[in-house]
Amino acid sequence: MKPSLYAALLWLIAGQATAQGFAGLGTEAAGFSIPQSPAIFDFPADHGPHPGYRIEWWYLTASLTGPDGTDYGAQWTLFRSALAPHDAQGWDGSQLWMGHAGLTTPDRHFSAERLARGGIGQAGVTAEPFAAWIDDWAMTSTAPAGADALDALRVTARGDGFAHDLALTTTGPLIFHGQAGYSVKSAQGQASYYYSQPFYSLSGTITLNDGVIPVTGTAWLDREWSSQPLSETQDGWDWVSLQFDDGARLMGFTLRDRAAPSFTAATWIAPDGQSQSYRDGALSMTPLAQSRVAGRDVPTTWRIELPDRALDVTASAINPHSWMDVSVPYWEGPVRVTGTHPGRGYLEMTGYE
């Protein structure tokens, strides 16, 4: 079958799990900047876009609870993909934007996608005042003057059959992964700039066809940019962000490799915001059960171990069918955590064919 222009386009900005790595993230980075160590950040400018780098994202996941105690999950993501390492105004803009929104209930999962080009105002990110938007989806800073722009956010999105409108606040610090924000992604040294704001508490509403539901919960924002974060043989990743009942948090991922053992990394975040990064091999993630989702087998129950912290937990999907049915589909949904450190969190799995 010949790809339509539409599909081929999505191939370009997102790619597929092919020899090029998931989402085209393994392709060459000609002309684009490459992350360097040590990472030096400049806020609030670094909350905004970095057109010199090929890809970038503002990635929010939220674990929600309804008035009756029902678990929900919400996702709001804006991806930036640059065709050329510069920006321009008007139709000549070389920045493409892709928004993903998801909403998970115990028995249903909704997803939506928006695409836009930069340069005309339809989508973009500004650092001061902080705002990220695509069409009518927006993530806007509501932080008071003097505070970090990401300390308070309003996040809205709408898709077929769902909407969410969340108000987020935090007093916790930004957390920098890897070597102070320089996050290595493979044994060959591919890396990205990666920091998070994992301490949000939130209140707001979600809207389903049967009505508006008030929710409260916690949220986690990831900021990451790079030009070539995966090695050519890395097909996808399994990523978790967990919030334990004792107030500690864990970020961990496994990059699956066709030609080598998986590459893992983790960041332990103490309730007071102190963090410790772990290099390859410290974390282990083992699939315990598969679910048949969208015609493929996806592990939706994981055993996660970080022996250094005496952590041995099981993360189980609240809804195993949290399939993001977008142009480059993947699994993204809330999990319940049991074991040494009970809590909840979010699981993301890409590159399952």
Binding site: L83, G121, Q122, D135, R158, G159
Partner: protein, 801 residues
């Protein structure tokens, strides 16, 4: 046994290669013209379908400015930011000299899936290249090899783009066209829930696909015309086949009787006959297909030009091959053979085994049969008149033409016989009397061929009268209506205001032309605002009007409408017309508006401004002393920086219009000539068929001392007499046809009626052609008669003895 019978039957053709050629050629010609026309139609329909499906235009609503200007980019972004799923398109035309390219710039990021953005060839597409400067253009191979404007981005060939158009990223189109505002927005069929209705969020006009002019609909009548021509040609071709098969049957009477006497069952004989005809049909059909394809390919550029000129429908100038078309044409040919052979087969079935093998004069029509034919003809002609006068639809118009043709054809033998009988009474000398009597005797055998000639001649007269009348009226109308010396278009309303201020003191009059799309009496159309000026009062012919129509128009108290609208909506002066929501005005007059397929209404500038306060004129008609026009045009181009095609002088428009017109009717001329050729051939076959059978009648005359050369001259004279008489009858039929085309079919198909004009010189030329055709047709039998061996003539008496 069937094999032997078939072989025996086929041996006939080996002994009569000329007859064989006649049969094959007749069938091939019939198939060729019919299938050629079908191929053109199929190609055109496929092109319309591609064009309609481009960007889902057949399914997606559009948002556009009511005045046809681009949608401000900020408005597009505002709609997206409000959550509405709309997608921008920048479209426009690139021109350089004769080269033109329609450019369609899309935003694949927001295009709804229904927009069906085109598939890419196996060559694949460098998507970064598509999105980033200089961009890529997608177009068909045909478009890519045609003359294109210079300095285009790299081209990629793909097959689902309309001809003459290129698809590009909206950024590329924006750069090439110098336009950053979308031309219109595509509206996704399903909008997010919980949003206010789109109509409340924008002042842009939402247009559904069915409200837009559809080339397939507009061009229907054109294709119906082509189909009618194709069918006519096919029918004429079948006359030839009928003659050939009839002749073969007569000549094979002896063989058939022998085969039957030898014990061949009738069923086997008929099967053998059927097989023979099927084989012949297939062979000739295939030959016809090749010929038809060649004809269609030769006519295609003209047709494409016509459709572009008349309807703005883009077609590829080249033909592609479609197996379904070929199959349909072959079936048609075989069906045609079956019809043409039905009579001969029926006679074979009834042939008594022991009847004599002597060929009887074939197809001798009894007086009773003639009378029956004449009666049917009269009924048909009456029906034709009734349909033409009271039909009121395109299809009844064609029905009237069909009845006219059929009635006239059936009446032909009766009339010719009567005329010949009349002439015979006045003939001097026995030879003259014999010549006329013998001609009359031949009538039944030739009547089919003569009918074919009659049809071809009258079609020729009718169509050329129609085209001639149309052209004369059209050119006269252009002269009347295009009176302004210069027509200027400004790129923006601001520029237009500056231009107006500049031009006012330098010209005799600056007449703004302003318009907006509107739905008039339920049809897509346009409302124009027009200044009150002598230019229009003096030169616009009104074909129906209330008293003081122009004065009342000037007060803003009414509208003028074009003839198309008046006819489609059955409106006449005095009726009211709604030209905008809540604005209904009396119709003051109707003007002719040839060449425009859409409804149109004219109001004053003030009235227009009241309805569309946001639309400022950007186009002006300028009155200026003709000798100063060229100077002003170059000033506007050079000093004012207007593009070359934004300043057009009157002569240019007229030349362009007449060119379009002439191209439009090129194909008609070509088909006319081809039909006449086929009819000439039918006459030849008829004469050849008769020649062999008529020895029994000629031998006595020869025996009386008339030389063979003289007999041959008589043959030739007879052919000329018949052709001349047929022409005389074709003349009124042709004029009746022309009237029907002008007063019935044109009105239904295009919405305008034309005064009929007669062109005697054209008719004289056609008479010449008919006589030449008759001469050529008679040449072969006459020559053969002149050289026949006396022993064959003598044999006639020997057989009698």
């Amino acid at each position: 046994m069937i094999g032997t019978a078939l072989f025996t039957l086929l041996s006939h053709w080996r002994r009569h290669p000329g007859q064989f050629a006649m049969l094959v050629l007749g069938l091939a010609l019939a198939t060729a013209l019919w299938s050629g026309v079908q191929a053109i139609n199929a190609q055109a329909r496929a092109a319309y379908a591609t064009a309609a499906a481009t960007l889902g235009q057949d399914r997606l609503d559009r948002l556009q400015s009511p005045d046809g200007r681009p949608v401000p980019l900020a408005e597009y972004v505002a709609l997206r930011r409000a959550g509405y799923l709309v997608s921008p398109v920048i479209s426009g035309e690139l021109r350089a000299g004769d080269a033109r390219l329609r450019l369609l710039g899309i935003d694949p990021l927001t295009a709804p899936p229904e927009a069906n953005t085109p598939t890419l060839g196996d060559a694949g597409l460098d998507l970064t290249g598509f999105f980033t400067a200089p961009g890529l253009l997608l177009m068909t191979q045909d478009t890519a090899t045609a003359a294109l404007p210079p300095d285009l981005p790299p081209i990629r060939v793909t097959d689902t783009i309309p001809p003459g158009a290129a698809l590009a990223d909206i950024g590329t189109a924006s750069r090439l066209l110098g336009q950053s505002d979308p031309s219109y927005l595509l509206v996704a069929p399903v909008q997010p829930a919980h949003l206010p209705l789109l109509a409340t969020a924008t002042t842009l006009q939402r247009v559904a696909p069915e409200q837009r002019a559809d080339p397939a609909q507009l061009t229907d009548s054109f294709h119906l015309n082509l189909t009618a021509f194709g069918l006519l040609a096919f029918a004429v071709g079948l006359f030839i086949v009928h003659a050939a098969i009839g002749l073969a049957f007569e000549q094979r009477r002896a063989t058939i009787r022998t085969l039957r006497a030898l014990g061949l069952p009738l069923r086997s004989l008929l099967t053998a006959f059927g097989l023979e005809l099927a084989v012949l049909g297939l062979v000739s059909g295939l030959a016809g297909l090749i010929l038809g394809y060649a004809i269609a390919a030769a006519l295609m550029p003209g047709v494409a030009g016509t459709l572009r000129g008349l309807y703005g429908a883009d077609l590829p100038g080249t033909l592609s091959f479609d197996p379904a078309w070929a199959g349909a044409a072959l079936v048609m040919t075989l069906a045609g053979v079956a019809i043409a052979a039905a009579q001969a087969m029926g006679r074979t079935a009834r042939l008594p085994i022991l009847a004599t093998a002597r060929p009887e004069a074939w197809g001798q029509a009894s007086a009773r049969l003639m009378r029956g034919q004449a009666m049917v003809a009269v009924v048909l002609l009456a029906a034709s008149g009734a349909l033409a006068l009271w039909g009121g639809a395109l299809i009844t118009g064609f029905g009237a033409v069909a009845c006219l043709f059929l009635g006239a054809a059936l009446l032909l033998p009766v009339t010719l016989t009567a005329l010949l009988r009349l002439a015979q009474r006045r003939a001097r000398g026995p030879l003259g009397e014999w010549l006329l009597a013998d001609t009359r005797q031949q009538m039944p055998g030739l009547s089919l061929a003569l009918m074919a000639l009659l049809l071809a001649l009258s079609a020729n007269i009718g169509v050329s009268t129609m085209v001639g009348s149309f052209r004369a009226t059209f050119v006269g109308w252009l002269d009347q209506r295009l009176v302004a010396e210069l027509y200027v278009t400004a790129p923006t309303p601001a520029e237009a205001a500056r231009l107006h201020a500049y031009l006012a003191p330098r010209t005799d009059a600056v007449l703004p032309v302003v318009w907006a799309d509107a739905t008039l009496a339920g049809r897509p159309g346009a409302v124009y605002g027009q200044a009150d000026h002598a230019t229009f009062r003096d030169h616009w012919p009104l074909i129906a009007a209330l008293p003081d129509a122009w004065d009342r128009l000037a007060t803003g108290d009414g509208v003028l409408i074009n003839e198309q609208l008046a006819r489609f909506a059955r409106l006449s002066p005095g009726d009211a017309l709604t030209i905008a929501p809540g604005v209904s005005l009396p119709i003051l007059g109707v003007y002719s508006d040839y060449g425009n397929p859409q409804a149109q209404a004219i109001v004053t500038l003030d009235r227009f401004a009241a309805i569309h306060p946001d639309i400022a004129p950007t186009r002006f008609a300028l009155r200026i002393a003709p000798d100063r026009a060229a100077g002003l045009a170059s000033i506007l181009r050079d000093d004012f920086g207007l593009p070359a095609d934004a300043v057009i002088n009157q002569t240019q428009i007229k030349r362009f219009s007449v060119d379009v017109f002439d191209q439009t009717f090129q194909i008609t001329g070509a088909l006319n000539l081809l039909t006449l050729g086929v009819a000439g051939f039918a006459l030849l076959t008829g004469l050849v068929t008769l020649a062999d059978m008529r020895l029994a009648q000629l031998a006595p005359v020869w025996a009386l001392g008339i030389t063979r050369a003289r007999l041959a001259r008589f043959e030739w004279a007879r052919s000329l007499i018949l052709a001349g008489l047929t022409f005389a009858l074709a003349l009124p039929v042709g004029l009746a046809l022309a009237w029907m085309l002008l007063a019935v079919i044109n009105v239904q198909a295009f919405g305008w009626r034309l005064p009929m004009q007669v062109f005697p010189i054209d008719a004289a030329r056609l008479l010449g052609l008919a006589l030449i055709a008759a001469t050529l047709a008679a040449a072969l039998p006459a020559l053969r008669l002149a050289r026949i061996s006396p022993s064959r003539l003598l044999k006639v008496f020997a057989h009698e003895a």
